[in-house]
């Protein structure tokens, strides 16, 4: 039942925000119901850890370890983004009358994000991923400026273009399932079990089509060009959701397909995934050195992390799969934190250019300190969780017999680290420019609350992984098909 409820709650929230008498309190409704959403996802995780899977409606709504992990990540990030939105979206007087429209769209967007991991039928998952794209288009273009509309347009053309290609992949998979394994109901679970019976040619064809279609949505190179535009132009809380979980959800579907393909002994795809993942990491690492806009910097870092997760899944051992799902979790919570902090900097200084930000620590000690912390965390410095997951991926790669790939990955991670820290160092320390901005700036209370709550898991998971989380990660890793 919890699984049905978690899908319905955002829909109810969207409906309430739309009702005219309630439009003034739309942000209260959103925060309360997103909080409930997060609690529901924790409950689902508990069910999954105890029983192995949570069933809402047999064959349609089912969540296993991987689904529950993505659910909890999505609802956590969306809950914090709702709190953060309350203060952030008020700064623009022009948009204040349209805020109810923002919250309605936001809740619909969350609905689409949670419906993907909650569904068991792949064909409906395709529809869910499409809904994610469509609702995010409206949020990216919300500010109605030339820049935001341009970003929304590029974003929608490039990402919706992937949809029919992926649809063809889903249909080919259905065909492979029916012609290889008979007439059972098609779910992720039955597909993975039936994979060895299916034709490897069709499995590979289906995976390649889905990868082409959804790789663009996940921001994997070379189809990543929409990502920095959309993530720099959208309102900051939306950027956090886009970068933190909107890219994770299509990647989740790609990982599901990879799990099915790897379960068939003849359809070798792992090595290709390592190569494509490394290309993404490489392109992102070098672009990180030369960005001029700090929101774009964090967007490129998303491309880097998507590449790392894909590489880890391509290594296809038990240990590397654990690293991949752990990295997926860490990236989402850390990257959304980065965007919340970037939003604080934007509120304080009203510029997105790296070179016009200097001496931030003296202008706003809170924003400056947080910027250093989140940048260290996203770049993978110890003692933050991304360091742990990257380290375990590198270690598992050596044990899996891929020393060259591991060496390249390590060098690229270091280059990305240098790129991020070089820019952040310039922004935070140094002499503030004289002028009206050099006084202390009062940041909205809910923004600061959002940031403080978002910091907690980023700090805690670096030193301590709770037992239930560890078993959830282990369950999720099983779905990736490593041996």
């Amino acid at each position: 039942m919890a699984l049905i409820a978690i899908v319905l709650v955002p829909l109810v929230a969207a409906g309430l925000c739309w009702v005219p008498p309630l439009r003034r309190v739309a942000w209260h409704i959103t925060i309360i119901l997103q909080g409930a959403e997060f609690l529901l996802s924790l409950w689902i995780c508990r069910i999954v850890i105890v029983e192995g899977r949570a069933v809402g409606l047999s064959h349609w709504f089912e969540a296993d370890g991987l689904g529950a992990l993505v659910l909890v990540v999505v609802s956590f990030v969306c809950c914090i983004a709702a709190i953060y939105s309350a203060g952030y979206m008020k700064h623009d007087a022009e948009q204040r009358q349209r805020l109810w429209w923002y919250y309605t769209n936001y809740n619909l967007f969350v609905f689409a994000l949670v419906v993907v991991p909650a569904l068991a039928d792949p064909n409906l998952v395709w529809v869910g991923v499409e809904l994610v794209t469509l609702f995010s288009v409206l949020l990216v273009g919300f500010e109605n400026t030339a820049g935001s509309l341009e970003a929304a347009w590029k974003f929608s053309v490039l990402t919706i273009m992937g949809a029919p290609i992926a649809l063809l992949g889903f249909l080919v998979l259905f065909w492979a399932y029916r012609s290889g394994a008979g007439a059972g109901h098609e779910t992720w679970e039955s597909l993975r079990l039936a994979a060895p019976l299916m034709s490897p040619v069709l499995l590979r064809l289906s995976f390649v089509l889905v990868f082409m279609g959804f790789g663009a949505k996940a921001g994997l190179a070379p189809m990543h060009t929409w990502l920095p535009d959309a993530h720099s132009q959208a309102p900051t809380p939306v950027c956090a959701v886009l970068s933190g979980v909107k890219t994770t959800v299509p990647l989740y579907v790609v990982l599901r397909f990879l799990g099915i393909v790897l379960a068939s002994p003849e359809a070798r795809m792992g090595q290709w995934m390592i190569v494509i993942g490394l290309i993404s990491v490489a392109i992102a690492a070098f672009l990180l050195l030369q960005v001029r806009d700090y929101k774009r910097m964090f967007a490129y870092s998303t491309v880097e992390h998507m590449g790392i997760i894909l590489t880890a899944a391509g290594l296809a051992t038990r240990a590397s799969d654990f690293g991949a799902v752990f990295q997926l979790l860490n990236h989402s919570i850390t990257k959304s934190l980065c965007f919340y902090v970037a939003g604080l900097v934007l509120l304080a200084l009203n510029t997105r250019e790296i070179k016009s930000v200097s001496g931030l620590i003296r202008i706003s000690p809170f924003a400056g300190g947080m910027l250093v912390l989140c940048s260290l965390a996203i770049a993978g410095a110890p003692p933050f969780p991304i360091f742990l997951s990257e380290f375990s991926i590198l270690g598992s790669g050596i044990r899996a017999g891929h020393p060259v790939a591991v060496a390249i990955l390590a060098v690229l991670i270091v280059i990305a680290f240098i790129g991020i820290m070089m820019h952040v160092n310039r922004m935070v320390f140094g002499v503030p420019e004289t002028g009206p901005t050099s006084t202390h700036v009062q940041l909205p209370l809910t923004c600061r609350i959002g940031v403080v709550v978002a910091v907690v898991p980023v700090v805690v998971l670096g030193v301590y992984i709770p037992g239930p989380l560890h078993s959830l990660l282990a369950l999720a890793a099983q779905q990736l098909g490593g041996h």
């Binding site: 929608s156 949809a163 259905f174 034709s199 672009l287």
Partner: protein
């Protein structure tokens, strides 16, 4: 695209699939917005004809439903939505801005169609079903040609129609390889297609209000180059 048996239903299906491919070429070759929309409607009608044909020969109520859904969504609702939101851009008589000229585009589209046959030809003959051997390569060809026209065309409405034509290609393959797809999935896909049209329509109206044109070529403010910083 050989291995066609002599049965009349198969021959009709091959004819319909061939006409769908010709419509895809025609959309690449048309110079005016209205022409692109017209060929898209014809292509959708042919697609529903294909699924009705398969439905009667395989006695599958799924395919009857799918054909009906296609007619409702793509022949009635989407052209109506476009006319409601973008009437002035739809009927304006001027050439669509192109990156590549039309003869070159048609040659590239032909190359993509051949590539599609080379990619899925072997897989489509695994089952020995003549319908799959025709529909899967032509469907993939329509998807690839649609993707190409998205990149070559720099205007909002032809780009939207390009996306929808890609979807037609995926469906053409789908009616052959996944005829027993659950009906709820088909309905959801149809709703999704209409949503794409509505949301892209809303976006286009917004772009027109702020910039005065629906030419996407003018959208080049966001780049990783020094010029964008003025």
């Amino acid at each position: 695209m050989h291995a066609i048996s002599m049965s009349a239903a198969d021959a009709l299906n091959t004819l319909s699939a061939g006409l769908i491919l010709i419509c895809a070429f025609a959309m690449v070759g048309t110079r005016q917005v209205q022409g692109v929309v017209r060929f898209f409607v014809i292509q959708s009608l042919l697609l529903s004809a294909s699924s009705f044909l398969l439905a009667s020969s395989e006695r599958s109520y799924h395919l009857w439903a799918l054909g009906a859904i296609t007619v409702v969504a793509k022949v009635i609702v989407i052209p109506w939505v476009l006319r409601r939101t973008l009437a002035r851009d739809l009927y304006v008589r001027r050439e669509i801005a192109q990156v590549v000229n039309i003869p070159t585009s048609l040659l590239l589209a032909l190359a993509l169609a051949i590539a599609a046959e080379l990619i899925v030809g072997p897989a489509s003959k695994i089952s020995g079903d003549p319908v799959i051997a025709v529909n899967l390569p032509i469907g993939l060809a329509c998807v690839l040609i649609g993707a190409y026209s998205l990149m070559a065309r720099r205007e909002a409405i032809p780009q939207l129609i390009g996306i929808l034509a890609m979807e037609n290609g995926a469906f053409l393959a789908g009616i052959a390889i996944a005829a027993e797809l659950p009906l709820i999935a088909e309905l959801a896909v149809a709703v999704d297609v209409v949503l794409i049209a509505v949301i892209v329509g809303i976006l286009t109206v917004g772009i027109k209000k702020t910039m005065g044109t629906t030419e996407a070529a003018g959208l080049s403010e966001l780049k990783e180059e020094p010029t964008s910083w003025r």
